[in-house]
Symmetry: C2
Subunit: 125 residues, 2 copies
DNA sequence: TATTTTATTGCGAATAAGTTGCAATAATAC
DNA sequence: GTATTATTGCAACTTATTCGCAATAAAATA
C-alpha cells in the first residue's frame, strides 16, 4: 500500500500543521478551503495516524480530534504520552507539552495513553 | 426533583457495586438479570453521575463507561482524579488507585480529568 | 508519451451510541 | 386512599464514524 500525494491529503495536513488546536472531522471540513467528502477526511486522517504523522485524541464528548503534535525544542519529534486540554469555554482541544507520568502497579503494560483534562484554558482565564 | 427508589435503580447500582470493572450501557443490559430499557439505563446512570454516586469514563472507543470508584482505605470516599486502564486483550476498563498528577502551565484551570491508559492488564500479562 | 496498475475519492447506505418526546406507570407525599 | 410527579418503555431522532462500490487519478511501467 504505497501512499500517493493528493491535493486532499496536502490540504488536510497543511491545515493541521498550521493549527494550534486539535481538529475534528467537522472542524476540518468547515475550515478547509476545498470541498472534501466526510468519509474521505476520516480515511485521510486514519492513514495519517497509521503513518504516525498525526495522533488521535478522544475527548469526553466521545468525538475524535486529530493533531500534529511536536516537541517545543525539537519540532520534528512527537512527544509520546502528553496531556491534552479541553477548554469548556472556547470549546477547543490542544496538545500540551506536559508528559503523562504515573507509577503503575506491576503486571500492567502501558502501551497507549488518552488523557484529556478539562476546564478553562490560558486564553479564556 | 426528589429521587425515588426503584427496582431498576437498585439493580443497576448493585451490579456496578459488585463489579471490579467499569461498565458500559450494553454491558449492563447484558449482565443484569432484569429487563431494562436502553434509554432508562442511560437515564439512571446519568442521574447517578449527577448525584456523584458513579463517575463516567470515556474510552478511546468513544463509548461511555460507568464505575462506582472508591478508595482502598476509605471505601466511602471517591478518588477525584485517577487513572483508568483499558486492557486491549480482555477488553475491560478498570479504575486504578493511581492519582493523575501534572504540573500545568499558569493560566490553566483544571476542573475535570478523563485519563485512560491502555495496554495489557494484570490478569492478562 | 501511452498504458497499466491500484491507491484514493465521492456517494449513499449502514452502523452504533446516546438522547428525546410522549404517554403510561408507580413511588412517595399528603 | 388520593394526588403529585419522578420514572419508565417505546419509538423516533441525532450525530459520529465506517463501509461497499464504482469512478477517478497518481505513479509506475512499457
Ligand atoms: Mn497531542
Ligand atoms: Mn474511576
Ligand atoms: Zn478556552
Ligand atoms: Zn486484560
Amino acid at each position: 500500500m504505497n501512499r500517493r500525494n493528493t491535493p486532499t491529503k496536502e490540504a488536510i495536513l497543511d491545515l493541521l500543521s498550521n493549527s494550534t488546536k486539535a481538529l475534528s472531522q467537522d472542524a476540518i471540513e468547515r475550515q478547509i478551503n476545498i470541498k472534501i467528502n466526510r468519509a474521505t477526511i476520516y480515511r485521510v486522517l486514519n492513514r495519517f495516524c497509521d503513518d504516525d504523522v498525526v495522533h488521535k485524541i478522544v475527548a469526553e464528548d466521545g468525538k475524535q480530534y486529530f493533531a500534529v503534535c511536536k516537541k517545543c525544542e525539537n519540532p520534528q519529534e512527537v512527544i509520546q504520552h502528553h496531556f491534552h486540554f479541553r477548554c469548556l469555554l472556547c470549546d477547543t482541544i490542544e496538545c500540551l507539552q506536559v508528559p503523562v507520568e504515573y507509577s503503575f502497579p506491576n503486571g500492567y503494560e502501558v502501551q497507549n495513553a488518552n488523557c484529556v483534562l478539562s476546564g478553562v484554558c490560558n486564553d479564556c482565564s
